[in-house]
């Protein structure tokens, strides 16, 4: 079972919920859960490790294959630049320029070069590290500073982390664009964490469209900082028939222990029950 924890709006509590759910399942595993794994897919601003303090293995370097043009064989025909949809190649007077940061690593230029003058060379864009938190498996990725493309790091972080008998929790990045999609794709269920404010509602709508309408994945909502703001989120969930699976109250002690990197299951132990019930309802929805 793969559960992706997403939100649309940033800072609504994705990491809080993902970490809390993984720990609740780890401490009191339901009969069908043989293992628990958490992958932090927010490779631009990864924070789950601050709460879980995993023992990590060596960093894997994530590389994109980018073109390298052999000047001896290149006839400056321009076919490579013509097929590149990302404008990552440009033919100037006497050579082909490669803009690595625009390249998506699709390999099209290499395939079409009539002279076989292009080879692909690795270009580092970030890292992935894997490890453990007790018996929980953990992975996260880091996009290198100044690099634009996050999705290949998300894909690599997820790779090999799922086993059929276990639960894999994905902590997704905010937004509703490609990094968020990459973190929801392949999930059995998407938990949308929001807050009961107009900003929370506005961005929940976008995330719901991605998860439910574009990807066709069943969804449920977690309302964090319940009680602040208004009832717009509640009414929206009712209208859209999206179940509200958990409410996390707004309390200063929660904000304070969040600030110190303390998982919410430690600060509010009674939430463990709520998180396990949430898992039960997710399982029913997926079955």
């Amino acid at each position: 079972m793969i559960i992706s924890v997403a939100s649309g709006k940033g800072g609504t509590g994705k990491t809080t919920v993902a970490v809390g759910l993984a720990l609740a399942l780890l401490e009191k595993p339901p009969a069908d859960v043989a293992s628990v794994t958490l992958v932090d897919c927010d490779v631009e601003a990864p924070n789950a490790a601050l709460f879980l303090r995993p023992a990590l293995g060596p960093e894997e370097v994530v590389e994109l294959l980018v073109p390298s043009v052999d000047a001896e064989r290149c006839t400056l025909c321009g076919r490579c630049a013509e097929v590149c949809q990302y404008h990552a190649l440009a033919v100037v007077v006497d050579k082909v320029l490669v803009f690595e940061d625009l390249c998506h690593g699709c390999g099209s230029c290499t395939m079409v070069c009539p002279e076989g003058a292009i080879s692909e060379v690795p270009h580092r864009i970030g890292t992935v590290a894997r490890g453990r938190v007790g018996s929980m498996r953990f992975a996260h990725g880091h996009l290198d500073i100044g690099r634009p493309i996050a999705v290949p790091i998300i894909r690599q972080a997820k790779r090999g982390m799922h086993d059929d008998k276990g639960v894999l929790v994905l902590d997704a990045p905010p937004g509703a664009a490609c990094p968020a999609v990459a973190s929801m794709r392949g999930a059995d269920f998407v938990l949308l964490v929001t807050e009961s404010t107009p900003f929370g509602l506005h961005d929940l709508q976008a995330a719901l469209q991605v998860a439910r309408d574009e990807l066709g994945i069943p969804v449920g909502v977690v309302i964090n900082r319940d009680g602040i703001g208004d009832d717009g989120v509640e009414r929206f969930c009712l209208d859209e028939k999206v179940p509200i699976l958990l409410r996390i109250p707004f309390e200063r002690r929660i904000a304070e222990s969040y600030a110190d990197g303390v998982p919410i299951t430690q600060t509010v132990p009674e939430l463990r029950t709520g998180l396990l019930e949430l898992y039960g309802r997710v399982r029913e929805a997926v079955a």
């Binding site: 649309g8 990491t15 927010d42 601003a45 500073i145 100044g146 634009p148 905010p174 574009e214 600030a259």
Partner: protein, 293 residues
């Protein structure tokens, strides 16, 4: 004309609250053009009373479509696709439009020319009038690519407008993270205002966004939101800024007026004269001072 960009690394630290508050305060003494560069979660419009004046479709990129009548199911497309976007079939292959990155590798490799690259509308962008300046904003359709390109479109149009109208400042509400839309948003920026919060996550992500703007040689200043929620973590951020030689120009206290303002659809500075508004005033004066140098 000076460009100010509000960023944070971590989401939900209060970028939009700061942007709307500064827009409201600064527009009293200066002429502003506003832009929301968070195109997949654009919230500035929710508190600035925009009156829509112009909508323009945004063509994102192209996506592959396989004609099932021409496809011979040879599988070459699936072989060359590196984005797991081609779905195999017995009689014809198909493309998952959500996964397709529009690279066209399959289009060029298909031996029977069964693949077309179709342009897609990935969103739209808007020009609106607000009481505090003209606002350029956008909506990336959910799940679409090219958020960076849409950010660039929004900013270029805002920039042209600002130059033509001889605006004093262009104030840009940025996206979270440090990747493609953030990098697109930094182009042309004179000062990046980094909004963080006193938590381990806030500091961790501040370090990453500070590195990012430094990489692109943009000057930065830091604002700590909800300053008093965790004084020990706030002190850590203060020490971090001192170490890095970056000015910390604002300490916004926690106040539920911020949520009240959001619910009533106003900039926070329009609903309270309390400490949050006073601090946003100080922040604006510090920004104007930095940019006057």
């Amino acid at each position: 004309m000076k460009q100010i960009l509000i960023l944070s690394g971590k989401g939900g630290t209060g970028k939009t609250t700061v942007a709307a508050g500064l827009a409201h305060l600064a527009s009293g003494t200066a002429s502003l053009v506003l832009a929301d560069a968070d195109v997949d979660a654009s919230n500035l419009e929710l508190v600035l009373h925009p009156q829509l004046e112009e909508t323009t479709p945004f063509e994102g990129g192209v996506k592959a479509v396989i004609d099932p009548d021409l496809c011979t199911a040879c599988g070459r497309c699936a072989e060359v696709c590196r984005f797991e976007a081609v779905l195999a079939g017995d009689e014809a292959y198909a493309v998952d439009p959500v996964a397709c990155e529009g690279c066209a590798a399959c289009y060029y490799q298909c031996p029977v020319e069964a693949i077309a690259m179709n342009p897609t509308q990935a969103g739209e962008w808007y020009r609106s009038r607000t009481p505090w300046g003209v606002l350029f904003h956008a909506r990336l359709f959910p799940g679409e690519e090219n958020s960076g390109k849409l950010v660039t479109t929004v900013k270029q149009n805002a920039n042209l407008w600002a130059i033509r109208e001889k605006a004093d400042y262009m104030l840009v509400d940025g996206p979270p993270g440090i990747g493609c839309p953030v990098i697109a948003a930094t182009a042309g920026t004179h000062l990046a205002l980094l909004v963080t919060e006193p938590s381990m996550s806030g500091l961790h992500d501040l370090e990453r966004i500070l590195g990012t703007v430094a990489h692109f040689q943009v000057e930065a200043a830091v604002v700590v939101n909800k300053w008093d929620l965790k004084p020990s973590r706030a002190a850590e951020i203060e020490a971090f800024c001192r170490d890095r030689g970056v000015s910390l120009i604002g300490r916004i206290p926690y106040d539920d007026a911020v949520t009240r303002a959001m619910v009533s659809g106003e900039p926070v500075t329009a609903v309270t004269d309390g400490p949050v508004t006073a601090e946003l005033w100080r922040i604006w004066r510090a920004v104007a001072d930095i940019l006057a140098d």
